[in-house]
């Protein structure tokens, strides 16, 4: 794309210089009409035809709704919620293998197919570095597939206004080598069977009712309303791409979530003793 743009730029500048410096000699009417016909009609018609054909040819790969391409079943189900992302990794049978939130991990060099949903209002799923956006519409399943070609960490904002904290709704995408991805995926599946060791923060988490909304694999917490917090300590950010993942920020979010994300569903827990909040934040931040 850059090379193509550079060539066109050089051509335009070259023509400009030529027009400025060439001797002004009128060309014949015949030559002029061929120039108009060639440069004004034939050239754009052919170029546009090629570009159109290329774009139409490309389309089914980006939007795999054709039965022929439906063989690659959705591997991840992403649901937009106000104002976070529910991400379910699916097994071969299409059932949920495990759930996570606000951080996506993908294998590099492979096409991953997503099923996109929305729980409340229209959101839009967009990882700018990996491809185009697609709306997440309540009551409808949209299918999108993406193929990352480079490992790294990418940011993905919500691309459809969805409420007061729309601008604070993002997720991070970590593109990994296949073996690393498999190891991570396997460890996440096994996490459900690995009991989390005792910790003062763990007891407080349950005593103050956090488990009513949040799930943490390996504990009795199976709340479905809020984001899954399994291994929240390994994520890049908290509060759906809003704050750096530090224990202080986790504590701050527990204390005043609505000050950080206006319109957030989670109630503020500022009435809890500071020590309790710190302990819960320390425990959550250490879940890796």
């Amino acid at each position: 794309m850059v090379v193509g743009g550079a060539i066109i730029w050089a051509l335009v500048v070259g023509l400009l210089l030529y027009a400025g410096h060439a001797r002004r000699e009128p060309i014949t009417a015949r030559k002029a009409s061929w120039l108009i016909l060639g440069g004004g009609v034939a050239f754009p018609v052919i170029v546009l035809f090629c570009l159109l054909a290329y774009a139409v040819w490309l389309m089914p790969q980006i939007r795999p709704f054709m039965p022929a391409l439906m063989d690659n079943k959705p591997q991840i189900e992403a649901t937009g919620e106000q104002f976070w992302w529910r991400l379910r990794y699916l097994d071969d049978g299409g059932n949920t293998a495990f759930e996570t939130a606000n951080e996506l991990r993908l294998p590099v060099g492979e096409r991953t197919t997503f099923r996109l949903k929305a729980a409340d209002v229209i959101h839009s799923f967009w990882i700018p570095s990996l491809g185009g956006k697609m709306d997440m519409i309540p009551g409808r399943d949209n299918v999108l597939s993406l193929e990352p070609t480079k490992t790294g960490v990418y940011r993905a904002p919500c691309a459809e206004f969805c409420g007061t904290s729309h601008a604070l709704m993002a997720f991070s995408v970590i593109v990994m080598e296949r073996p690393d991805f498999d190891a991570w995926r396997q460890s996440r599946i096994e996490a459900a069977a690995m009991p989390q060791p005792a910790h003062p923060g763990r007891d407080l988490f349950f005593r103050h009712g956090c488990a009513a909304c949040h799930t943490i694999a390996g504990t009795p917490a199976i709340g479905r309303i809020g984001p899954d917090l399994t291994r929240i300590g390994e994520r890049q950010t908290i509060a759906a791409g809003t704050l750096a993942n530090t224990k202080d920020n986790i504590a701050r979010f527990i204390r005043e979530p609505d000050a950080i994300k206006p319109g957030v569903e989670m109630p503020a827990f500022g009435m809890l003793p500071d020590g309790d909040i710190e302990a819960i934040a320390a425990w959550l931040g250490g879940l890796k």
């Binding site: 018609v45 546009l48 035809f49 054909a53 139409v56 089914p60 709704f65 054709m66 391409l69």
Partner: protein, 125 residues
């Protein structure tokens, strides 16, 4: 075909764009209806593709005919535009030239509308 040169109506001017519009409608409506009633019609997508291909060829033929008549009306390009004198002859030549250009535009447009026919594999599920 002498009457073609005598005709004093705007309708010839619109022939090619009308064919383009009809071709566009037929392509899109046909595929939409076919895909909506997939089970009810005993017709494969390939048949559909060939059918629309045939309609495209017919549309292109009508446009070429319109262009040829326009070229004729323009006097086979013996005189160059602008035909802006207030005479019947210039009016006819102007209309012929305009029709020829519109026919060219419509020809290209019909081709562009046809491009997806080559790439669509099946109906959206």
């Amino acid at each position: 075909m002498r009457w073609i040169k005598e005709i004093e109506t705007f309708w010839t001017l619109f022939t090619a764009p009308t064919v383009w519009a009809l071709h566009f409608l037929v392509c899109y409506v046909a595929v939409a209806v076919y895909c909506a009633k997939q089970g009810a019609l005993a017709m494969s997508f390939e048949t559909m593709r060939w059918l629309l291909g045939g309609i495209t060829v017919a549309a292109l033929a009508v446009i070429v005919l319109s262009a040829w008549l326009a070229w004729r009306q323009w006097g086979f390009g013996t005189e160059v535009p602008p035909h802006d004198a207030p005479t019947q002859d210039d009016r006819r030549k102007f209309q012929g030239f305009a029709t020829l250009l519109l026919s060219g535009l419509s020809f290209v447009s019909v081709l562009y509308v046809t491009v997806p026919l080559f790439f669509i594999g099946a109906c959206q599920s």
